[in-house]
């Protein structure tokens, strides 16, 4: 039935993973690497605040782990979320080994001026502060924030990746956004003390 066999690039992630499990197919794992390595590289850089070389090492290690732990993959589940579950656990382990040192809050003092949306410099400055505020989050808050608003996962997918409930994901996102907004309040001239009076 070889003539009816799909080309490797036409196979779904899950079909490729079955090839890897059954035949240790190097072409299948290479294809999965081609599809996701760039996205994973970005994820590791965002999560670990490391340079591209270190993040590349993480990507390589992740795919080696897939080959080692291929028997743990459930073909009924989405490969994409399984991939990010491993990546998320790797980040958690790396964070425990050497926690990322949060930048000093003093850095936010100089930002007490208004934001002009049209001003490119201001916009870039806002982005820099956003990156810094991200680093001030606790690891589990940062994980859900990056997965939701940078990697565009659905809430249910994040619950699956982080192996938590949907309620926990929503709660973590709510408090992550709250903390970041507090750090960025200098950009809101009409910031009111009632901003988060709910709790």
């Amino acid at each position: 039935m070889g003539i009816f066999r799909k080309h490797i690039t036409q196979l779904t992630d899950e079909e490729l993973m079955v090839e890897v499990i059954n035949h240790h197919s190097s072409s299948a794992i290479t294809e999965l690497h081609r599809r996701y390595s760039k996205k994973l590289l970005g994820y590791f850089i965002k999560m670990l605040q490391r340079d591209a070389d270190t993040a590349n090492d993480f990507v390589q290690e992740l795919f080696l782990r897939i080959l080692e732990k291929k028997h743990l993959y459930d073909p009924e589940k989405k490969f994409y979320t399984w991939l990010f579950t491993i990546a998320s656990n790797m980040c958690k382990t790396a964070y425990r080994k050497s926690p990322i040192v949060a930048l000093s809050t003093d850095g936010y003092e100089l930002n007490r001026h208004t934001v002009d949306g049209d001003d490119l410099a201001e916009k870039n400055h806002f982005k820099e502060l956003l990156k810094e505020s991200l680093e001030h989050l606790e690891h589990h808050h940062k994980t859900v924030f990056v997965l939701r608003y940078m990697e565009q996962f659905s809430l249910n997918e994040i619950a699956e990746i982080t192996e938590t409930s949907l309620g926990t994901v929503k709660s973590r996102l709510f408090y992550a956004t709250k903390k970041m907004t507090e750090l960025l309040k200098a950009f809101d001239p009409t910031y009111e003390s009632t901003f988060f009076k709910l709790n």
Partner: protein
Amino acid sequence: MDKHLNDNEERLFDLVDQKDFDQLTPEEQTFVETHFSEAAYRLQRQLISESNTLYEAVAEVPPLVVPMANSTVFGKQIPLYQAFIGIAATIALFLSIWPDQTEKTEVQNNKPALSKTDTIIQTKIIRDTIIRYKNHRNGNQSAQSSRSEDDQFLATQMRILEANTLQLPEIVNDLNRSGGHSLKDDPASERLLKSTYQSDAR
């Protein structure tokens, strides 16, 4: 640990997560503004939308280095070359203890029977006359006792016959050796026949 959100918080989260301030209905705007300002809501939305494009395209990813496949024996991984050695050893062992009998038999069957001598001298003399003695005892006697007497008698006769069997001369050995010519021209066999007939005549 983060505490779970109450209904108001969860509703606020859903709105911030999905809609810009301008997309909110009047009722939703009123609900939001009871908790925080329009500017604060807009800041959260900006934070979310900017996060999407916070990191630009990253560097190229080097190609994946896939390690050589390993085989598994009893759940333990072994190198591929060891697996091949194991298979080869198993086949060699199987062949050594299981030789192919069928083919050998066929070769033997196809081999023509070659005789080394053209004449074989039989060392057993078969006499052409058998004397049988009938038991004429009374028929009323038991059949079992008469049969055992017959057997004894036949055994005696056989012993007599064996005693009369000639001890063949050593010349037989010479005769069994390949002469390369017919028996009728062989002087040794002629002497044997003569001695046999003479002993018979006695």
